[in-house]
Symmetry: C2
Subunit: 323 residues, 2 copies
């Protein structure tokens, strides 16, 4: 089970390897929001998202034998890149299983981090079956994107840093809003803050139409999304909260916040203008909630969880939401 | 005279007020450059540029009487915003003298930081005469953009941070490339590194056609630019190196590097893709030199000195230089 001890163990394995990302803020952003907003800029993390932390935590926790054989992940996005670079730095072989129609730049980036990319046809092939065969034939260890205690522990190091940085900024009492997909980042942060900053309470943010976590927190059981794609915030769209993550979310987080796609894109433009960081749509939902929802306290800390966004989309956002 | 002691004094006045900006790097950027590149991300500084440091240093060094009367700066850009926020936080009145045709967003931002903006007509009015009258009538202290010992001392705190961060990253020997206008940032960094990291040698970067510093370093005397406007890198275009800064540059820096406007814009796109930071053209010339010049060592540290860029220009850069 994921616990504070696992997170602190991950923090010591990540020390000197993951980047301590800054907690940013800006007076003009606060003025627009009508409250104090602090942004944990995980888009500045290695590989452009917090996923590097979970990848490093998982790879560094393997036995030497497991590491020599290598790791496997299913992902076309941030998790792939995070695991690939973590494996590269550990000298561990890494296989990433990606749909053949994944964007070319994501395939190229994952390869650039040294991973072997195996492509499959979404329409005709079964990803899990291919993965199981690969894992068995080569002895690879599967690193799941969120429902894995070591991955959650790695993401929880974001929470340890927020606790320290909030204290340095004199913040004892605030809402922390996370960009929430399967709940790995959120559950890790919630466990870390429960122990180290009990005045910081966690709420989740999700895109409208893909609010499985908000509905699950409301009903008390794991709800599923009707669709599994179709949001511009694709990086955080998952079918439902995880088996391991949901009990933690249920105990420590909520109620869930929901933002429109346009609000997420508008938050990207605000982060550009006022914080000078590049945030992807799924990584901007927490800032969007902090800016545009009203039932929030005077001080809000939010994660900007990733910055891997196509230049064309970013240019379009700047053009549409110039302010 | 500016000295290490002044920089260290500025550092203690800035502690807890200026942001310790991260030193960023990315494996994929290194691969493109063919060398190790580290970026001191001053675009993440308060007000979006290193100018806040010099502003804070100068305002905090005033006597209580001077501070009560207030400060004056001539600027339509980063220096204006840096001085305005520093004055606001010190409770000091602040007057910024700007040309009436300055971009509306810059006027609005400077006002949002609490400054009184006085507009003048570039064609018919004499800025220095208006400033002198304002200063005399109201007892304001003029804060120059670079030729001021306290301003240089504030910018020099960037160098103190680079010395520490380079040591943490195991870098003992490197070239540090600065985005150089009048030389305030460059001379401050050079003095700090001379004392704290003698293996880090400073070179300047400038846009082609506005390479007064490179030519001055080559000739040994202060050369002037033929034109004073017309570069997309407007934030760092100055007529010539400063009286105070040039002797420091001459003793410690060079040879100067020159990049084309297109190289600066391409560096902005690379910073977007690989570092997820927003850099303005003038703030990207050092990264451009680090990426595209060949006579450089294995490890280069460069300043990304500001991130105040119009959304339309940034969108255009992403569209033109998508990679």
């Amino acid at each position: 089970m994921t616990s504070l001890a696992l997170i602190e163990g991950a923090a010591s394995r990540l020390a000197g390897h993951a980047r301590l990302t800054p907690l940013l803020n800006a007076p003009l952003l606060d003025r627009i929001a009508g409250r104090r907003i602090f942004v944990k800029a995980e888009c500045l993390q290695w590989t452009g998202s917090f996923k590097f932390r979970g990848g490093w935590s998982a790879v560094s926790a393997l036995t030497p034998q497991q590491r020599t054989k290598g790791v496997l992940a299913y992902s076309s996005g941030n998790h792939a890149q995070g695991v690939a670079l973590a494996a590269l730095r550990h000298g561990a072989p890494c296989v990433i299983l990606m749909p053949a129609d994944a964007p070319a730049v994501k395939i190229a980036n994952t390869r650039a981090y040294g991973a072997e990319v195996v492509l499959y046809d979404r329409a005709t092939q079964d990803r899990d079956a291919i993965g199981a065969t690969l894992a068995q034939d080569r002895g690879l260890t599967l690193i799941k994107p969120f429902d894995d205690a070591m991955v959650i522990a790695g993401q929880g190091t974001v929470g340890l840093e927020i606790a320290v940085q909030a204290a340095e900024a004199g913040i004892a009492d605030a809402t922390v809003i996370t960009c929430c997909g399967g709940g790995g980042l959120t559950s890790g942060i919630a466990l870390a803050l429960e122990a180290h900053a009990p005045g910081l309470r966690v709420r989740t943010a999700e895109p409208a139409g893909f609010d499985d976590v908000a509905r699950s927190l409301a009903s008390g059981v794991r709800e599923r999304n009707a669709a599994t794609s179709g949001s511009v915030c694709d990086a955080i769209v998952t079918p439902s909260p995880g088996e391991i993550t949901f009990p933690i979310l249920k105990r420590l987080c909520g109620p869930g916040l929901v933002v429109s796609d346009d609000e997420a894109l508008r938050a990207m433009a605000l982060a550009f203008h006022h914080l000078r960081i590049v945030v992807e749509p799924g990584g901007a939902v927490a800032l969007a909630a902090a800016m545009f929802r009203s039932d929030l306290p005077e001080t809000v800390i939010c994660t900007a969880s990733g910055g891997n966004v196509d230049a064309a989309l970013f240019a379009d956002v700047l053009t549409r939401f110039e302010s």
